[in-house]
């Protein structure tokens, strides 16, 4: 067994991409082991899709290096073992679903004898078996995204890139995609999940990296990232000036009468309540809870801005 067979699914060193004077990705260094579900989080324009395109060879890095499955990015042979669902998914409307998947089997390329089973399995996995012979132009956006996911799955890839894979799906579809991702991981496939749907990432990912303005601002397992406590307070009578006086209690997610202190030690809750009352606030509810990924995400972005 060669070194490539045991190499990480993804390894990058200082991967950087500039578009003119704009830095889209600033020195991304990370390692995604085989079989892991890796969440790549960030607000819109943070550099998530740029990262995926760099790894797939659709964009050329300005500097830095990266390897997929032990081979340098851009290696054609490695692409046989990779699946990709783009954020901007679109398939030939004048082909039917089965033909689209046959095209991907052909380009993969898979032995023709396996196509029938591969297509049947992929369609069944994404729940499109009963629409296999319908033209893609008759599909809803959600169904096209399911088809894109099926195309990414043909050939049993060792690494799958999913860029916002549930953006067009209803709650049932999102649940199905989470199951598919878990199934991929169970059979040893690494999944690189690009998403800004934090609850989705929280439910399926083994590890995450948070990216903002082209830089990774935090990364780790869920346990490592979500070690703190968040406190949600329902309060009235506080204007912006009063709320500013609460900055000492850490980052605040301000939703009007509902304030979430995204990282606050539970021991400080009595002090927080007395401060709110002292500055004229009326407290209706105080709910400490374990920090969610959304709390942590907002906290990180807040710290980044600060």
């Amino acid at each position: 067994m060669g070194a490539a067979a045991t190499a990480p699914a993804i390894h990058t060193v200082d991967l950087t991409k500039r578009f003119g004077s704009t830095i889209a990705l600033a020195g991304l260094s990370m390692t995604v082991p085989r079989g892991e579900i890796f969440g790549f989080l960030g607000p819109n324009g943070a550099g998530k899709t740029t990262s995926v395109k760099l790894l797939l060879g659709l964009l050329r890095p300005s500097s830095g290096e990266a390897w997929l499955l032990g081979e340098r990015i851009g290696d054609l042979e490695t692409r046989r073992r990779i699946g990709y669902l783009p954020e901007l998914f679109r398939y030939q409307g004048w082909l039917d679903a089965r033909e689209v998947l046959a095209l991907h089997c052909e380009l993969a390329p898979l032995p023709r004898s396996t196509w029938k089973e591969e297509i049947k399995s992929a369609l069944n996995t994404v729940g499109l078996s009963d629409r296999a012979d319908d033209r893609v132009s008759t599909f809803s956006k959600g169904m096209q995204q399911r088809l894109g996911l099926a195309a990414a799955l043909v050939g049993k890839p060792e690494l799958v890139f999913l860029d916002e894979p549930t953006s067009a799906l209803d709650p049932v579809g999102r649940h199905d995609v989470r199951e598919i991702i878990r199934g991929l991981s169970a059979r040893g496939t690494a999944v690189f999940l690009n998403s800004h749907l934090l609850s989705e990432v929280e439910q399926v990912c083994d590890r995450v990296a948070v990216v903002d303005h082209g830089r990774v601002i935090a990364s780790g397992t869920m346990d490592e990232l979500l070690s703190g406590t968040a406190v949600r307070v329902r309060v009235s009578g506080l204007d912006q000036a009063a709320k500013a006086k609460l900055a000492a209690f850490g980052p605040i997610d301000d939703e009007g009468e509902q304030l979430t202190f995204t990282k606050l030690d539970i021991e400080r809750v009595p002090e927080l309540v007395s401060t709110i009352v002292a500055i004229g606030g009326r407290v209706y509810e105080v709910a400490p809870r374990h920090q969610t990924l959304e709390d942590r995400f907002l906290q990180l972005l807040h710290e980044e801005e600060a």
Binding site: K53, L56, G57, L58, L59, R60, L76, E77, R79, R80, I82, Y84, L85, P86, E87, L88, F89, R90, Y91, Q92, W94, L95, L103, H104, E106, L107, A108, P109, G148, A151, A152, F161
Partner: protein, 287 residues
Amino acid sequence: MSPVFVFARLTVQEASRRRLLLALVILTLLVVGFSAWGFNKITTVTRSDGTVLPAQQVTLISSQLLIVVTFMYSGVLALSAAVVAGPLISSEVESGLLLSELARPVRRSEVVIGKWLGLAILVTAYAAGSAFLELTAVDWATGYVPPHPIELVIYVAAEGLALLSLGLLLSTRLSGITGGVIALVAWLMAWIAGVVGDIGTGLQNSALQNVGTISHLLLPTDGLWRGAVYAMEPDVILATLRAAGTAGRANPFSAVDPPPTAFLTWVVVWFALMLTLSVWSFRTREI
């Protein structure tokens, strides 16, 4: 199957499924039907003394009318090639259709060459099919067959292929509508520049002649059109034009000589350059 042939097949399949081929076939049959009726009318024209035109005159009229009809076909082919080639790559990049395909073990050169090949098959098939139908109809209506029908098809097809190649090159960088419009304007400008070159020939003005020569080098569509015209000229017309000297050469619908070998060699080099540039342009494009 090599990805080149996969993309070529997809291009042909798309034209077929989107009913482009059907539309062209129906329109061509209509044109062939009307022109057959028109050509047939030439044989029934009577002179003031009530007699029909002699066979030689019918041949002369038919040959010149066929050049005009062929110009219409070459225009349809050039327009279609430019309009279809313009968005061939750019629209698939913009829509995201190519993203998942380029993530497969596929070289960008294979995408470019495959799409060129698929469209080239369509252009050549249309040129050959429409020429066969039109020439058969003219032969049936008047008994006239141009002297070099095979060369005629080759020149008309090559003109369409030239527009296709230019459109595809533009498609690797520009939006479909922009690339298509530029290709069409370039085709018209090359034709006008060819006319200017003719005028230069008639006036024996080397500056104007150079305009025609340079345009033939930049975009050889007009030079190829002249080859098609030459393939349709009967000997008697050629003799008359040659007797007229430089004035006989000053006409975009006439050709006294076949395209020179140097020009035909340049056309081959031009096609190779266009494809090479297209591959380079798409390979270096960030998607």
